[in-house]
């Protein structure tokens, strides 16, 4: 009953696949990402602090588009001869495209916040669950190993969207979450977000535990023995000797997981979470300008994914220990 692909330690058998962007010496990326984040932060601060009473859809963009739209209209009405008119039309179309994209920005910024919250909270909460799960798989007795195996295999063997449906529609978790004090108050996430967080956390815990498990297996077994030999208990030896090494091995897998969660958090839109994709779809439905708004949404996701990869490769470099895993590893 195994859904494992391959069992060799060190093989990213259960990887969700990495994006494969090497950022190191690509200033162009930073030239785009820097302003993007600066704008996002200013936007968030502005919307929460300066104009908190304003509904998301009523928010105005920082970059007025009236002149763009006007220029487009002028170009169309210029009445130039045929070939030139075609070119002008095309130019005007481009200006409309940019104008609509820019007008969507405030709502997408609000969506991006939800996406980031979903991703960061569930990967961290998932990690908290994943460490004991993986330790149980590797070092536990039968009573610990098999339940841990069953949980990870069941979760990794079914679609995330089906899991969200189980929690949201099947178990109707919202009715319980609603009772929890504080949910939905002020900046705290509302019920649907909490249900999504529960779903992503459980799902991510299963995948992360696989990464950590294969990383633990790739730590030389002599390390545990040596830990025991200096008088540490098994738990202490795992905690102080094996885990610090294994978790470093798990970083590449962890980066993949982060990227995966950024993208798959879009599935929360099906259970009414107003994250990035939900906002984009909403604007699209209101304006029928799907190309523009989905293009801008795609750019948002790519910016988030590339930023995440950059942060993770920085982290990987920072915690690297000479001779131990790190960048040399696949």
């Amino acid at each position: 009953m195994s859904t494992e692909a391959a069992d060799e330690p060190g093989e990213p058998a259960t990887a969700r696949g990495s994006v494969g962007v090497e950022l190191g010496r690509r200033p162009l990326f930073y030239a785009v990402l820097g302003p993007f984040w600066a704008w996002l932060v200013v936007r968030w601060v502005h919307d929460w602090v300066l104009a908190p009473e304003l509904n998301v859809t009523a928010r105005e963009t920082f970059f007025p588009t009236a002149s763009l739209v006007a220029a487009g209209t002028t170009l169309r009405g210029a009445g130039a001869p045929a070939p030139v008119a075609g070119l002008l039309d095309w130019l005007a179309g481009g200006m409309d495209f940019v104008a609509l994209g820019v007008e969507a920005l405030p709502q997408l910024a609000a969506g991006a916040w939800a996406t980031i919250v979903l991703t960061v909270v569930s990967i961290l909460a998932g990690l908290v669950l994943a460490v004991p799960l993986s330790v149980a798989r590797v070092y536990g007795g039968r009573a610990a190993r098999y339940p841990a195996l069953a949980v990870t295999e069941l979760i990794r063997g079914t679609p995330l969207l089906a899991q969200l449906f189980v929690l949201y529609f099947g178990l109707g978790l919202t009715q319980y979450v609603r009772e929890v004090p504080g949910v939905g108050v002020a900046v705290l996430p509302d019920t649907a977000v909490v249900v999504a967080l529960i779903g992503f956390t459980i799902n991510s815990a299963a995948y992360q535990s696989e990464y950590i498990r294969s990383a633990l297996l790739s730590v030389d077994s002599g390390q545990l023995t040596a830990g025991r030999a200096i008088g540490l208990s098994k738990v202490d030896a795992i905690r102080h000797v094996v885990l610090p090494q294994g978790l470093r091995f798990a970083i590449p897998g962890w980066s993949n997981e982060l990227v995966y969660l950024i993208k798959y958090s879009s599935l929360a839109s099906f259970i009414t979470v107003r994250e990035l994709f939900f906002r984009a779809e909403e604007i699209g439905n209101a304006t029928y300008r799907f190309v523009e708004v989905y293009t801008v949404a795609a750019l948002f996701y790519i910016a988030l994914v590339i930023s995440a990869s950059a942060v993770m490769s920085y982290v990987e470099g920072r915690v690297a220990i000479p001779g131990l895993g790190g960048k040399g590893r696949r």
Binding site: S2, A150, L161, A162, K263, S269, Y294, I302, V305
Partner: protein
């Protein structure tokens, strides 16, 4: 399977009552759901195949190509790997200027995204074949294309089986996202069942049944590809050196 039931039974404490009548509802609609499973399997196969047809050449180009072609291929790859499947499907179905059905749009979206990942699997596998293999092939007079075709690719394909297996199950699970464009695959059919009027008590049963079918399909896929891996295995001492 027992675990799924145990999981479900465990939830009784939360106040959700699993009624025999609701499972009977699932059983009455088993055929409807299994047809959906058929579509899920078909969509998985077409998408993985498209992914293979586009991903293998892309992987080869990333290793052996040069200049602008490599740049274009790897940029396209980042685009497809960096965008959520939902956005990709929005483009292939809603934005697509060519009017295609939901199945074709889903195949296109899942397939191209899979190609972007498969290209990385094959690229890694090709790079893991030692350089000496290429030199030896060139030394008996084969052209680069012949060497890639007869020496590098056969070895790389074998080495990419674990990654391919992983990718296959990811595609299988992600076919559920085609719910978004209304394709009547397994999850969509489950959703349509429990949103029928008067069936709101059977929601959990339906979703669990649907999940179970996915689980069985995932396990079967892995077992099948494991068998395939063994069937085509070649004694290998971990890379000819």
């Amino acid at each position: 399977m027992t675990t799924v039931v145990a999981l479900a039974v465990g939830e009784v404490g939360l106040g959700v009552v699993l009624q025999a009548g609701d499972w009977a509802f699932v059983l009455r609609n088993a055929e409807f759901l299994l047809l959906g499973a058929g579509i899920t399997v078909a969509l998985t196969l077409t998408s993985v195949l498209l992914g293979l047809l586009a991903g293998l050449p892309a992987g080869i180009i990333e290793v052996y190509g040069s200049g602008a072609v490599v740049g274009a291929v790897s940029r396209l790859g980042v685009l497809f790997r960096g965008t959520p499947l939902l956005v990709i499907l929005a483009f292939t179905f809603f934005v697509n200027p060519v009017n295609v059905g939901a199945f074709e749009a889903a195949t296109l979206g899942l397939g191209l995204r899979s190609a972007a990942y498969q290209s990385q699997i094959f690229r890694g596998a090709i790079q893991s074949v030692s350089e000496g293999q290429m030199e030896a092939a060139r030394s008996v007079g084969m052209s680069q294309v012949e060497a890639i075709r007869h020496v590098i690719v056969p070895q790389a394909l074998r080495r990419s089986i674990p990654g391919f297996q992983n990718e296959f199950t990811i595609v299988l699970k992600d076919t559920s996202v085609a719910f978004f464009i209304g394709l009547a695959e397994l999850l969509t059919r489950g959703f349509n069942l429990f949103t029928q009027t008067g069936q709101s008590t059977a929601i959990l049963e339906v979703v669990l049944a649907v999940s179970l079918v996915y689980f069985v399909l995932t396990v079967a896929t892995n077992q099948g590809l494991d068998y395939l891996g063994r069937r085509f295995a070649v004694p290998d001492s971990g890379g000819e050196r």
